[in-house]
Structure formats: C-alpha cells, structure tokens
C-alpha cells in the first residue's frame, strides 16, 4: 500500500521526463527574442524562469516560459544575450544569441515601424507597399505561428539518435576494447617470453 502510494506520488509529481536531453532555441521575433525550452521527447517546459545574462555574466533581465515552453524577451542592449533556464535535477538549458543578431533585431524594429507610419519608400518596404503596418505585423505573427511546429519538429529531429550512430558507437566500443585487449595481450606475451 505504502509502496504503491509512493509510486503514484512519483508518477504524479510534476517531473517532465527527467531522463531526456534538454533542447532550447532562440530566434528573432519582430523586435523581441523568442525562445523555447523543452525536452527532446517533445515535452515542453512550462512556467520556467529564464534568466538573461550578457557575456560577462551580468544579468540583463528575466522572463518565463508560457504553457507551451515559449518565452519572449525584449532586448534593450545590442550585446550577446545568454538565456539560461534551470529545469532541475542537473538539466540546464542555455542558449546564446550573438550581439550581431540582437543588434539586428533592435535595429530592425524602428525601421520596420517608420516606413509604415511615414509612408517613405524604403527599399525593403517596396514590394509590400500596399500593406499597412498592422497587416504586416499580423502577417509576421501568422508566419511565425505557422513555422513554430516546423521548428519544433526540426529541433526534435536534430536530437533524435538514429540507428547509424548507435551502431557506430557500439563499433567504437568494440574497437576500443579490442585495442585494449591487444595491448594487454602483447604485454602478457612480452612478459612471458
């Protein structure tokens, strides 16, 4: 009885598959940085505190993931951003976004806003000149939402361990132990002779 209670407790405890790799990614999302944190089996990390540091270790701010493991962070300085989330039990997610990429996000947001408002014919705005700023923002969000599952699937795929690497690993092990066997045998024969 006690044992089954403990077992149930262990299963019900919010322990999202601790025996998996942590996956995390960040990407530009308009004027924000969007990121996701989860496990390689597809479980995402909801309500997780994400701390943001610069390269020197100084804290830039913090944010937290939503129910789907996504988080948003608005950069205020064009420096390298390091996102860190502690999932507990030795699982730490850390993703880095380069200073150049952050600067691009920050530089892009004002330019994206001005041509729409002032109607100046900036070169990137030319093909979409008949779109209002609002429609463009809407479109960007839509595309992001459409791409999200793809991105997730791609990350999961990258973290999948395929059959070839399993076989390769086993081959390495046998090779290594074969080498050890060879060395040991040579030493034995050498000492016997």
């Amino acid at each position: 009885m006690i044992r089954s209670c403990v077992l149930i407790l262990a299963l019900l405890a919010p322990l999202p598959a601790l025996a998996h790799n942590v996956i995390s990614a960040v990407f530009p999302s308009g004027s924000d940085i969007e990121g996701e944190v989860g496990f390689s089996n597809g479980d995402m990390a909801p309500d997780l505190l994400i701390e943001v540091f610069d390269q020197a270790g100084g804290k830039l701010g913090e944010t937290s993931t939503d129910a789907d493991g996504f988080f948003l962070f608005t950069p205020s300085e064009p420096v390298t951003h390091i996102f860190r989330g502690d999932l507990g039990a030795g699982h730490v997610a850390e993703v880095i976004m380069d200073a150049a990429e952050v600067a691009q996000i920050m530089g892009q947001s004002p330019t994206a806003a001005t041509p729409a408002g002032a109607g100046t014919a900036a070169i990137p705005a030319a093909p979409a000149a008949d779109l209002s700023g609002h429609a463009r923002a809407e479109l960007a969000t839509m595309i992001r939402n459409e791409l999200r599952p793809l991105r997730q699937e791609l990350t999961a795929f990258k973290n999948k361990s395929d059959f070839q690497s399993v076989l390769g690993g086993i081959g390495y092990i046998f090779g290594l132990f074969g080498l050890g066997f060879y060395i040991a045998a040579r030493r034995k024969i050498g000492s016997g002779a």
Partner: protein, 205 residues
C-alpha cells in the same frame, strides 16, 4: 541521470574529473586479460541501454544498467562505464564532455560499490538466490547514483533535500525495472556461464 554541461560549478567538475581518472586507473589495474571482452560487452550494453525508453505513465524513463556492470566487473566497471559515457556524450549529446568526469563518478562509483557489496552474494548459493541478490544490487546502484547526482548538484549550490527527492523519486520506476533486469541477467549468467563470477583477484592485465 546525466548532468549536462553548465549545471555544475567548476570545483565540482574538476573534482569529478580527478576522481574519475583515479577510478579508471583503479579499474584498469583490476581488469585481467580474460575480462576485457566482458567489459566491452557490458560497456556496449550500457551505451545502448540509455536509448531504451520505458514508458511509465505520462512520462518515460531510460535504463542505465550500471549495477549489472558493477556486479560482473567490480572495479573494472569504472573504465567500461566511462567509455560508454564518453561515446554517449559524443554521439547523442547525453551529458557533456566537461562534466564527463562527474557523470562517470556518479554512475560508475555506485556500480563499483554495488559490485563490492553484492558480488560475493551473487556468486554464492543457487542461481535463483544469486539473481535475487543481483536484483537488489542493480536497484541499489541506481539509488546510489541518484544520491550521487543529488550530492553533485548540492555541491554546486542546489538544495540537497529538494534535488535528492526530485532525482530519487523520479527514478523509482527505473530502480524497479533495473532490479528485475539485473536479476534476470544474473540468473541467466549463473546458469549458462557461472565462471563469470569466479574470483579473478590479483591477476594483472
């Protein structure tokens, strides 16, 4: 079970690496020539075991099989498990290369301890008795591993009780499964290859 890069403080990582080197040296010294193939096979099974995901409730766990290696190899389980861990880190990104030492100690030391404690019991009596002790040893190795992981996290600043509870309870299913598997493996080995448990102390490779 595998601690990832960046989760631990530098002293813990360095300490783990030093301890791992010591353990590997100790293990290589107690690995006689005729045990090398067995060590290779156990290393390979450890390497593959972590890919076997057992679905439990809403989540899933993966096997570790360090106890079995310890029961059969004793100290020699250290280098065997280290090789498995190294290749897991390289091929699958489990853990990481900087924390390899800590992971090796966390996984191999409990295996060695389980081996030292239960190996004489496993080798004695009927195969069934040996299998029961083997099962207990296999489960105990996982329990000790969870404690070792919790200690590593605590030394890096985590709250020990919390970390220990989290890791320990989430691995209770693994303990049960590993105990059954180790027991079955020992039973089979005792039946078909009893010389695997013959004492080979002293013979240097």
């Amino acid at each position: 079970m595998h601690i990832v890069d960046g989760a631990l403080s530098n002293p813990v990582v360095i300490g783990g690496a030093v301890a791992a080197v010591g353990g590997i040296a100790m293990g290589l010294r107690s690995l006689p020539l005729e045990r090398i193939p067995a060590a290779g096979v156990l290393s390979a099974s450890f390497f593959v075991a972590s890919l076997i995901h057992v679905p439990i409730g809403p989540s899933s766990v993966h096997l570790i099989l360090n106890g079995l290696a310890g029961l059969i190899l004793g100290w020699a389980a250290f280098p065997a498990l280290f090789v498995g861990l190294l290749l897991q880190a390289v091929f699958f990104g489990f853990g990481g290369l900087t924390v390899l030492g800590v992971n090796a100690v966390n996984i191999a030391l409990p295996a060695v301890l389980a081996g030292l404690m239960f190996r004489p019991l496993v080798a004695r009596g009927s195969p069934l008795q040996g299998a029961i002790w083997g099962g207990i040893g296999g489960g105990a190795a996982i329990a000790l591993t969870t404690l070792a992981v919790a200690v590593s996290l605590m030394l890096s600043g985590d709250e020990f009780i919390l970390a220990a509870k989290l890791v320990f309870f989430s691995h209770i299913p693994v303990m049960v499964i590993e105990a059954l598997l180790s027991g079955a493996a020992i039973f089979l080995a005792r039946r078909v290859k009893p010389e695997l448990f013959a004492d080979t102390k002293g013979s240097l490779a």
